[in-house]
Symmetry: D2
Subunit: 369 residues, 4 copies
C-alpha cells in the first residue's frame, strides 16, 4: 500500500471521547488528514478548541485547534474520501444513513448498523474479507449507490477476544464452546461515563447490553460470507459449526485496557497443546499488516511468557495499542485451553480499528483515492 | 447453643493481617475471650499495642492493648480451649503441629494442613459434618491424642464460591462442570502484600497457587467422608460424581471482597431454571446458624435482584461480612446457569470462618468447654 | 438531655446522597423517627425503596422501605418536629423558605442560607451558641414566626478544619493567619458526581466555589454574635481579630474522608508548643457532648501520635465518623504550628452535623418536643 | 550543542526503578549510548533481561536486553564518559565515591551527596551555574582529581516546586515565605514501595524525610555560589535574603506525577499580579534548552488557563515529562500568590534531570567527549 498524497477525512462526533481519539490518532497519520469535523448543534460554529472538553493525554493537534465544527450534515463533508463516526448510538443511525445516502464512505464505531445484514462488522486484524458485502450494500439501497457505504467495527470487548479466537480457528479448526469473563476499563463507557462512586474500590459486575454484543458479534465476525441460491451474499453467523459463547462482563477500576479470561473447547480432537496455541498466536500475521496498512500492528498478537502478564497498565500501549496481548496460555480442566487477552479499548477496540478498516478499504479498492 | 461463661482463646500470628482481624472480631464475641497472643520472636515480650502495626479500621480493643505477646510455644496457651492460627504458611505447619501435640484445639487459616487426609477443611456454612474425621485424626497421632486436633478453613476465594455451589448440589444434585473467574481484593495478599505500583489502574491476571487451591479444595469440601473397608474414614473428593472445575484468578484494585463469575453445568437434565436457583440459594439455612453459632450469618446467601449487584464496596459488610452475596443468576449459553458471587475475604473468607468452626466444634461436643 | 418519647422528623431530598445518609443515621437514633420523606416530583408517590437508587453500604432501613415519598411541600410534614434537608442547592432555597414559613424547624445541609445574616451556620462541635440568633430570625420574618426557623451546617471541608481551629482559639487566643490545603473525597460531590475518568489515577486541583466557602464560612463560625446599638444581633465575622485564611482545594481518589493540611499563626507571642496544642485538642469537650446530645462524639478531636496518621481509610469511621482526627502536630517553619486534620465528610461533614444541631436545638429549648 | 558521535554511558542500579527509567530514556537519546550496566551482586553476570523485573510501559530496549550486568565496580565502566546512578541511598554513597575516585563523571539521583558542600545539587532547568563548583570538588579530593566528580539532582518533590520558584525570583526578586503541600505519586517510593493496602482509597499524610528535603534543598538550589575570603567557593543557601519554607508531604493514589499547592510571599512590595506571574512563567527559557541540550524541554513551564489543571493523569507526559506544569495562578489571601505545580517525578523529577545535567556538563566543557 503506497499512498503519496493526502486523503481528506471527516470526523463525526468529534468532541466526544471516541472523536477525540480519532483526532489524536489521525494527527500523525501518514496520509489521512482531518478536513472536516462534525458535532452536535451546540458545538457547531465554534473552533474545535472551544467546542471540546479535551481529555486526552496529548495536547489538541495544532492542525485541528482552529477548525470550525460543523453540524453533522453531509454537505460539509463532500470533500472527504472517508468519514469516521464516533457518534453516540442514539443519533448515529440516522446521521450515518444520511452520509451513506450522500455517497460518503462511513466507518463507524457505533452499534447502530452492526446487525444490519448488508453492513460488514469488521475487526481489521480478523475479517477484512467481509468488505466483499459492500457492492451488495450499495445495490440494495434505493436508489443504488455508487460510492456510499457503511462499515462498522466491533464493540471494544468483542474486538479483544475475537482476535485470538480467529487465530485459533484458522490454525486448529472450529471452536465449539467459549466462556469469557471480562474486566473492562472505565474509558469504555465514555465521558462522563462511570461515576467514580461506583468504581473506586469497587467492581460493577454488569455492563448493559455488553454480554449480548460479545455473544452475537463474535459469531458474525468469525463466520463467513455465504452465497445464497439467488446469488446474494449473507453472513452465515458461524452456522456450519455452531459455536456457543457465554460472556460475563465486569467494569473494573482501570482507566484503559480490557482484560478478558477465556476458556475454549475445540471441535477437533485432540485439541492443540498450549505450546501449539502460543506458536500459532505468535505466528499470525494479519492481512492488514501484510497489505501495508500503516496503522496495522506489526504483531497482531503478542504472547507473554511471564505468568503475570498481560497487565493493562503495562501492556495496553504496546504497538500504540493496535495489537492484542495474550498470556497465561494453559490447559483448562473443563474445556481445552484457557488464556488471558488484553486489548486497548480506546485504540484497537475503537478508533484504531475504524482507521485500519478505512486503510483496508483503500488497499482493496473499495474506496478510490 | 448456649454458653454462659467465658471461653479463653489464643491467637497465633496475632500481629499479622489475619491475626488482627481475629482480635477485632473476638473483641465483641459473646463468649470467646482473648487470653493469649502469639507472634514471632521479634514481637515476643512486648505489649500488643507496641508489637503490632495495627491496620484495622477500628481501634485496638482495649482488652488486648496491654496483653504481652508470647512466642508461639504451646506452654503459654495451656489455658486456652481454642487456639486460632493466622500464621503465615511458611511457619504454620510446625507450630500448629506442636500445638496439636500439646493437646490444643487449633483452628487454622493457613494452607499447611488443608490437604492432610485426616484434617477437615471446613467452610462452616457448608460442611461442618467433616468434623467427624477428628477422632481419627487424634487416633492416628503417635501417641494418640485426647483433645488436640487441627481444623483448617478454606482459601478465601474457595470459600466464596463453594457456598453457592454446595447449595446448588444440595438442591439440584451433583454438578458436572464449573468455570470460575475471580476478581480478588488486595487484602487477600496480606500486608505489605501487593505493591501499589502493581495494582493501581491495573489488574494482575495471576495469583500464585490460587487456581489450584480453588480446583482442589472445592472437591474436598463438596465431597463426602467415605468409610473404607477397614473402617477408616476418608475424604472422597466428590468421587462418585466427578466434577471438573477450572479457575482463573485475578487481582484487582479493591480493598476487601472477592468477586467471582461462575458458570455451572448440572449432571441432572433438565437443569434448574434461574428462578429455581435463586429460590434455593435464598432458602438455604446453614447448620451453623440452626445450631445457634453466634457468628453464623442469619442469611447464608443473599440473592440480589438488581442487575448490577453484588458489588464489593456496597455489599461486603452485609451481615458483618459473614454471609455471601449472589447476583445475576441467569442462563448460560454454554453451561446451564451463571451467576456472580461476592464474599468478604477477610471475614467469611478468613477469620470469621475459623471462629464459626470453633463455635461448631463446641456445639457438636468436639471441644468441651 | 433525656427524651423518653419518639420525635418525628422529615427528610427532604430523601433520595439523594445526603438524604440517604440521613435515613441511615436516623434508623438507629434513640428518639428521632423518620415520619415523612420528601423528594422531587419524579419520586413522589412511590415507596421509598422504589424511588431511591440506594448507594449506602447498609441495606435500606426496614422502617423506611415502604414509606411513600412526598413532594417537598410543607403540608406533608406538619407532624414533624424537625425537618432535615439534604436538598440540592438549586432547589433548597425556595423549599426551605416555604418550610420555615410553615412554622417548621429546618436543619439544612445546603448552602442557600449560610450567608443569611439571620441564619446561624453551626458546626455543632464548635458554635452552638449561634442558635441565639433564632428569635431574631423568627422576628424579622413577615409575619413573625412562632416556631419556624432554619439552621444550616457548614460545608464539609469547612467543618473539618474549623473544629481544631476553634479549639486553638479557645485555648490560645485568636489566630492571625491560616493556610489550608484540602484533599477531598469524591463522595463530597454527591452522585453521580465526579466522573471516574477524572479521578482514577488522578487529582483535580479545583473544586468550584469550595475555597471561597472555607475562607468565608470559617469566619462566620469562629466569629461571635455581636449586639448592635439598636439591640439587634449580628454575626461579627471574627471582626475583632482579623483572621486571614487561604484555602487550596483538591479532589482526590478517596471514597470518604476529607484530609486537610493546615498551617496557623497565632496572634499571641510566643505561640503554644506542639505539645500544648496536642493537649488542648485532646482535652476539648464539646457542649453538644456535655449536654448529652446522643449523636455527639465522646471525643471531639482525636489526636494521633503516629507520624503517618490520620488516614482516611483507617480513621474516617472512628466514633461513627462524628469526631475529627488530627495528627502530625508540629512546628511550621513559616507560621507557628502545622497539622493534618481528617473529617468524615458524609458524617460530621454533612448529615451528622444536622442531626446534632437538631439535638442541640431541643436540648436548648429552641424546639419543644 | 552538537555532538556527532556516540558517547558511552553507564547506569548504576540498572535493575531498580530509576535505573529502568534511565535505560528507557537513553534508548532514544541522540548521542548517549548505554555501554555498561551495574547492579547488585545478585544480578551480576546475568543478561539484563534476566536480571531485571522490568516494570516500564515500553519493552526493554533491544540494545540492552542481552547486555551482561556487572557489579558496581569502576573497572567495568572505564569506557564510559558518563555514569548515571539510580542506586538506593543505602549503598549509593560508597559506590559513587569510588567511581569519582576512579576519575568517572557521576550523575546521581541518590541523596547521599546532596548536602556535600562541594557537590552541586542541580535542577537542570534552574541552576546549571552551580557546575562551577566542580573544579573545587576535584581539587579538595586527595589526591586531586583530573576528571572525576559527582553531580546530584534534587529530590523529586523539590524539583517540581523549585522550577517555578526560581522563575519567580528571577522575575520579581527574592521570595520571603513559601508554604507547600504536596500530593505525591506512588512511583516516587520505588518498587515494591508503597503497599497497596496503604494507598488504595487512602492518603498517607507523611513521607519520611521528604519535608526536610524540600525545605533544605530548595535553599541550596535557589541560593548562589559565594566566593569566600580565601578564594574558595561555597553555596550560600539563599543567605542574603532569608527564605522560610514549610512543606507538608502526602502520598496519594496516583501512579506518576507530583502535584504541589504553593503559596508564596515576595520580599518586594507591591508583589506581582497573577497575570504578571503567568507571563513570567510562560516566558522563561532554561539555559539547558538555550544551550541545545537535547533532553531539555522546549517549554520549561507550561501555564494552564483552565481552572482545573494541571492534572497528573492528563499532563504528566507533556514534553516527555521534562517540563513542569503550573495552573491556578491566583491571589492568596494570606501571602501574595498561590498556584499548583505538577511535575513528572520519574522524568524531570529523577532520570531526566540527571541526563540533562550530563548534557549540560558536556555543553559547558566540564566533560570532554
Amino acid at each position: 500500500m503506497q499512498i503519496d498524497h493526502q486523503v481528506k477525512v471527516g470526523v463525526l462526533g468529534a468532541t466526544g471521547t471516541v472523536g477525540q481519539r480519532f483526532i489524536s490518532l489521525l494527527s500523525t497519520h501518514p496520509f489521512f488528514i482531518v478536513a472536516a469535523l462534525g458535532a452536535s448543534e451546540r458545538s457547531a460554529g465554534k473552533p474545535y478548541s472551544k467546542a471540546v472538553n479535551w481529555k486526552q493525554t496529548v495536547p489538541i493537534p495544532s492542525a485541528v485547534r482552529e477548525l470550525v465544527v460543523y453540524p453533522c450534515i453531509p454537505e460539509h463533508f463532500t470533500e472527504c474520501a472517508v468519514v469516521f463516526s464516533g457518534l453516540d448510538a442514539d443519533v448515529a443511525g440516522d446521521i450515518e444513513a444520511a452520509f451513506r445516502e450522500a455517497e460518503l464512505a462511513v466507518f463507524s464505531n457505533a452499534k447502530s448498523f452492526r446487525r444490519d445484514p448488508h453492513v460488514p462488522l469488521i475487526v481489521p486484524l480478523v475479517n477484512p474479507s467481509h468488505l466483499s458485502i459492500i457492492p451488495q450494500q450499495r445495490a440494495v439501497h434505493s436508489p443504488p449507490l455508487k460510492k456510499g457505504f457503511i462499515v462498522t467495527n466491533a464493540n471494544c470487548s468483542t474486538t479483544g477476544v475475537v482476535v485470538p479466537l480467529a487465530v485459533l480457528e484458522k490454525s486448529f479448526g472450529p471452536l465449539e464452546s467459549c466462556i469469557i469473563t471480562t474486566m473492562q476499563a472505565i474509558s469504555g463507557a465514555g465521558y462522563p461515563g462511570v461515576p467514580s462512586l461506583d468504581i473506586l474500590d469497587n467492581i460493577v459486575p454488569y455492563i448493559s447490553g455488553e454480554e449480548e454484543k460479545i455473544e452475537w458479534e463474535t459469531l458474525k465476525i468469525l463466520g463467513g460470507v455465504a452465497e445464497t441460491d439467488d446469488g446474494k451474499k449473507a453472513f452465515d453467523m458461524h452456522a456450519k459449526h455452531p459455536l456457543r459463547i457465554s460472556a460475563s462482563c465486569n467494569r473494573v477500576p482501570v482507566v484503559d485496557g480490557h482484560t478478558e479470561c477465556v476458556s475454549v473447547r475445540f471441535a477437533r480432537r485432540p485439541p492443540p497443546s498450549p505450546q501449539q496455541v502460543r506458536e500459532a498466536l505468535t505466528a499470525y500475521a494479519s492481512d492488514a499488516y501484510t497489505l501495508g496498512c500503516p496503522s496495522a500492528p506489526r504483531h497482531t498478537v503478542f504472547v507473554h511468557e511471564e505468568p503475570d502478564r498481560p497487565q493493562p497498565r503495562l501492556d495496553r500501549d504496546y504497538q500504540q495499542g493496535a495489537g492484542v496481548s495474550v498470556g497465561r496460555v494453559r490447559q483448562c480442566r473443563v474445556f481445552d485451553i484457557k488464556f488471558v487477552v488484553l486489548s486497548n479499548n480506546v485504540c484497537i477496540g475503537a478508533a484504531t480499528s475504524s482507521i485500519i478498516n478505512a486503510e483496508l478499504a483503500i488497499a482493496r479498492g473499495v474506496i478510490q483515492v
